[in-house]
Amino acid sequence: MDRDIGKPLFDIFLLVASGIGFYYATTLPSITSAGGITPAFFPKLLSGLIFVCAVPCFIRDSLEWLSQRRERDYEAQNVRSDGPKSAVAQWLFIMALIIGYAIIFERLGYLVSTSLFCFLSVLGMVMLSGEFSGMSAVNKLKSGLGYLAFSIILSSSIFFVFTALFNIPLPN
């Protein structure tokens, strides 16, 4: 990608977060022990260091963004940043689904929440990525049922292995 506003934005996030961290560190009780290092010393030092290091990063990244230069960073070459068109939607969908899974994990119990999560995530990815378009209604139904079977079989077989074989209790 040529212009990724996210890069300088993330630097700004680091600057703000380290500032907040530093502020909270100053509110810690100052118990001075031998050697003069208080509980707040390291949090202050580290948030300060993050701030100081993030400033040149921010300057460099924003200049890069402004000059629209092509990404040279080798890490970024490993990260295929120009995903398919629906990439952002897919990312947000999975993120939301995982958070939802965490919320219902203990409330609905392992089996229900896991089957639900597996089914929805597979179905959602298929719909968002356009894998379903151009498929006949019968085929859609068929693969949908296949996903449902996959979800239920996966979650119940894991449940059996953990509770019956390993004796590790899962939420129910």
Partner: protein
């Protein structure tokens, strides 16, 4: 001693004992594959089973679990870029790129043989040198721990991406996160905001799984493209066999791994998680072509995996010779030993009954069992890559949830994992990297608490940190490594500039 070994042999080479060891190894391998579940968990689960067994049989089973979990963490690290334990973080550096090239089987083959060699070598070291090494480990006081952690933190520069500055930021983030929780010396709550689960600080495992697994899931979701089908042909299954020759050709890396595993492993409370990173760092520094590391280089895998199993033998040294377990897994093992009526300590080594030799041999057998099971399983493991991406994605999330939940049974850790997952995603995307965060998280508390503990012990005097010989040595090495890294970084930067100019 010979009589002891013969006595030990007769204890180990019984069908029941051999089966118990193999069973323990298998369970360890299964647990190690699942993110979050560790060898400590495997041993704890097996503990009640061993109560009724004779000592060598029971301990052999537990050692099998230790050994199995030690190697199988490399499987998800290589195939999916997801390290299940802190010690397999470095396996992802070269294992995953190699798997991406379609050579997952080769990477696994290297990992298996390297682990096996590391395990056998550490068994030999353990049986010959345990008491003196244990005495050496006792010389580590607060000053030495502090200097050791500084030495470890310098590795951040080595695992950082191209931008040293961004790697440092990532390391500082991890270090800062490690200060959350009850202050280790004064007992003050720091940044807990009334959350009980944070009182004892951020758990390494949810953070690790978030930073590596969840961030990887998010990345895969972002890139998911049904048009790009993973074809079976891309993965060369026939490559999947143990790689003895290639492993031993990388003898430098193998020695670096065994060396750092056996030296760092015995230091209680510090060794386990960083031994493999130290090995990777050292293997790269002494390699003829360090630039190949990180791009799927076989020496990278060999160094990390040999260290991973060598450190287990290393961690057994203080456990058996002094009764001091280095970390969670050996702590549970110690419980198992004591329930069996075996009291660890120097007397165990002087004991003529052969029990200790039986334990050594059982550990050796466990390594062979591991080799056998892994060799049989290697072709199956590689098939994981042929599971359709969307189903694999869902399954990995489920395993992450269970792994994090099973360890502490606390949903808070799941939210913690998610937070670290989002953080890790952006850190990777914008070139900061996630490995430094884990290093900071692990080494941060060692550095901080030992600095302050040392100052309290020396009553405010700073000089012992520089005058105690061991401590001074570590600081000096750390300084030298830092200077070398900065110099290499500077040269690479200049070379880069020239390339741009000429382009």
């Amino acid at each position: 001693m010979l009589a002891g070994y013969i006595e030990g042999l007769s204890m180990v080479f019984q069908l029941g004992t051999l089966l118990a060891i193999a069973g323990g190894t298998l369970l360890g391998i299964i647990m190690g594959v699942l993110p979050g579940l560790t060898s400590a968990m495997a041993i704890a689960l097996l503990l009640p089973v061993t109560f009724g067994m004779p000592p060598v049989m029971g301990i052999g089973m537990l050692l099998g679990a230790l050994c199995g979990a030690g190697v199988s963490g490399s499987i998800p690290a290589i195939l999916l870029n997801i390290p299940g334990t802190p010690s397999s973080v470095a396996t992802t550096f070269d294992g995953y790129p190699m798997a991406q090239r379609g050579e997952a089987g080769r990477a696994l083959g290297l990992a298996i043989v390297a682990s096996f060699s590391g395990g056998v070598a550490s068994m030999v070291i353990l049986s010959l040198l345990a008491p003196p090494i244990a005495e050496f480990a006792l010389r580590f006081g607060a000053a030495e721990y502090f200097s050791l952690s500084i030495f470890g933190l310098v590795i951040i520069a080595s695992v950082a991406g191209k931008s040293l500055l961004k790697g440092l930021i990532a390391g500082f983030i991890g270090f800062f996160a490690s200060t959350i929780g009850t202050d280790p010396i004064a007992g003050v709550d720091r940044f807990t905001f009334g959350q009980l689960s944070l009182l004892t600080g951020i758990n390494i495992l949810p953070a690790l799984i978030g930073l590596f697994a969840i961030s990887q899931i998010l990345k895969n979701a972002f890139e998911y493209d049904p048009a790009e089908k993973l074809t079976a042909g891309k993965h060369k299954i026939d490559l999947a066999r143990p790689r003895f020759v290639e492993t031993f050709r990388n003898w430098r890396a193998l020695l670096a791994g065994i060396g750092s595993g056996s030296v760092v492993g015995p230091v209680p409370g510090a060794g386990g998680s960083i031994a493999s990173l130290v090995a990777y760092d050292q293997a790269r520094r002494f390699s003829k072509n360090p630039e190949k590391f990180g791009s799927g280089h076989s020496a990278g895998i060999v160094s990390v995996e040999s260290a991973n199993n060598a450190l287990l033998g290393g961690a057994l040294i203080p456990t058996l010779a002094l009764g001091i377990p280095g970390e969670a897994a050996t702590a549970v093992l110690l419980g198992g030993l004591m329930i069996q009526g075996i009291t660890p300590g120097p007397m165990l080594f002087a004991d003529q009954s052969g029990t200790i030799y039986g334990i050594f041999l059982a550990y050796l057998v466990a390594n062979f069992a591991m080799l056998l099971i892994m060799c049989l399983g290697i072709k199956v493991f590689v098939k994981v890559l042929m599971v359709p991406r969307k189903q694999l994605l869902a399954a990995i999330v489920v395993f992450c949830f269970i792994g994090v939940y099973a360890v502490d049974g606390d949903v808070f850790n799941i939210y913690l994992m998610l937070a670290f997952g989002v953080l890790g995603y952006f850190l990777n995307r914008y070139g900061f990297g996630t490995a430094p965060v884990i290093l900071g998280l692990i080494l941060g508390p060692i550095a901080e608490s030992n600095l302050r503990r040392g100052l309290q012990t020396f009553q405010g005097d700073w000089t012992p940190f520089f005058t105690r010989p061991l401590s001074a040595t570590f600081l000096l090495i750390a300084l030298l490594l830092l200077a070398v890294t900065l110099w290499q970084n500077y040269r690479a930067y200049k070379k880069d500039l020239e390339e741009i100019k000429s382009a």
